[in-house]
Symmetry: D2
Subunit: 189 residues, 4 copies
């Protein structure tokens, strides 16, 4: 049995759809329990994230998957507020050797999504985690990883309704990432 | 006459000291007017920065210098909240062709400070700005750029009192950056 | 009068087409002289780039635009060999205050092109240059910046013939970058 | 039994010393066999790395640790030439699920070493590997990770003789990284 937590911020609902796809992928692996955790603006007081219960839940997980839209060249500030609030877990290295992975969305094919994934990676490194790559070549008939990302899952969404974007291909990409992390989490136990 | 604005977040006061040094450097150039603007937690509501007056002040500047401590592998969340709130200026490309530069502080010689400066650079690029390098070789007798940074000014501070850290060398590095940006801002007018 | 040099490596000819477009854009600005310089494998001996004449030409330029395909998550090794060979110009800071910009190509919409542009930026920073953003919003009717890049020009090409890829939109993106750098180079003189 | 390969380029011998320390750490774990592989300039023809035997050796490894000095803001070109030559292994995803880690050296405390480690990470991601963090907090009495790096091992060396730099603390940091990767490689089998 291994626990995979997905923690994400979603502004307009698109990232939530992708987070649900990642969870679906993780939950499809037998022996996996999942937590799908949304970062709420209400939990941010003067720029500081204060929901300690969420952080405890992550402390108990075997793998943590980070998700946020790319806003202004990096992860949404709400995600960063959460990240800054993990300093206690960092100081005690509670996440050491856990698996980490990530996903992000923006309105352009490239945008600065690689920069957001790089931040997720650096953040995970500071927690002494292991970073799991997406593991899917682009150019497949099913459209998985159509944007061509290696460090995590990328999806495209702008002002469209959330039942249209992210599209089926991007959600399938998220599912594959969730399943991959789940499988590796079991192997690492 | 050119206007150089320094906008920064400081958690424990160290980044404020460095910001003051940057301002001192910029103000030392004749023909320059400076704004030293602190990002306040009170201006962040549910994770969103709401002080439109600050953003208007930046819209009117010729150069903008960004500053934040490196927390958990990136700029402090409070800075990111400010960055996300510039989306209106971005959409209208109000900062196009302005100069940009940056500085950051963390508790270790390297830390993830380069990652924070890279974020500042990507953020400035999305605003169609020009990024100004630090312009100082390390290894000089006066200790300027002792940490060896190219993309902006780096300083070292952890739990020390703010009259001890950042030290004189790091503050001089900040001054040099401020003066450099100011000189180039005049040239670009 | 200002000199804009474009220095690039092209493996299969696609990056050369984009480099020509960048040059066309720069040359379209009156008062600009351009150098279009290809990095040749023959000039790399045991992994070291040895063409000093090229580096002297860059020393005499007002702006330098870097171009390379993204191979295995970064600029092609041939470009990096050239970059490493600029250590003399770096030591003497001969490129200080020159303008810099960049472009890259890969086979997927995102790929790791942002990483290549970030390298170009860091490299330019070490030379104490000023980095010029692309300056074009994506989503325009003419298709300029269709991939959504801020730090430089991105184009798409894989195994297609070089008269097909990069396509007209990507070449127009390159032209715009060349013209932008040229205009700013005149302003900086 | 698991195989850990260390592949590195060393220009002046400092990176070789660090590579040997990493190997020592890996070899100290029982059940581990190591390969210490130097990238030679002689194997680079017109900028292309041609030693297929090395790449086959890596194809057979369980973990691969990358090492290069940071030259002009990125990994030495010779390392990049090697990286570009792994395109066949990449196309066939022969390194999928292998562990990866990295180390780098430059002459200044920060320098652009984080950028080099980020490149290693992106490169490993494209090979669908798992990236192993350094896993050591800075500020320890033994001086391990004295520069404050999370994504890999960083060391300091400039023009000093190779019996002086990297120093004992930096070599111990390398050893710790080697041992960490080796332990995780056994766990993953």
């Amino acid at each position: 049995m291994a626990i995979v937590s997905i923690i994400y911020f979603s502004g307009a609902g698109h990232t939530e759809k992708l987070a649900e796809a990642v969870k679906k992928g993780a939950a499809s692996i037998s022996g996996i329990s999942t937590n799908l955790i949304s970062i709420k603006g209400d939990d941010i007081l003067n720029g500081r994230y204060i929901n300690e219960a969420v952080i405890s839940q992550l402390d108990e997980s075997d793998a943590i998957i980070f998700g946020a839209p790319t806003y202004m060249s990096g992860p949404a500030a709400q995600f960063k507020a959460f990240a800054d609030a993990t300093v206690g877990s960092w100081f005690n290295q509670k996440w050491k050797d856990k698996l980490a992975a990530g996903f992000t969305i923006s309105g352009a094919p490239s945008g600065d999504k690689q920069g957001t994934l790089q931040f997720f990676q650096s953040f995970a490194m500071s927690h002494s985690m292991l970073w799991v790559s997406l593991g899917e070549l682009p150019g497949q008939p099913d459209g998985v990883n159509r944007l061509g990302s290696w460090g995590g899952a990328m999806a495209l969404a702008s002002q469209e309704p959330t039942d249209v974007a992210p599209n089926a291909e991007d959600k399938l990409t998220g599912e594959k990432l969730g399943a991959r992390v789940a499988g590796l989490a079991l192997k690492m136990k």
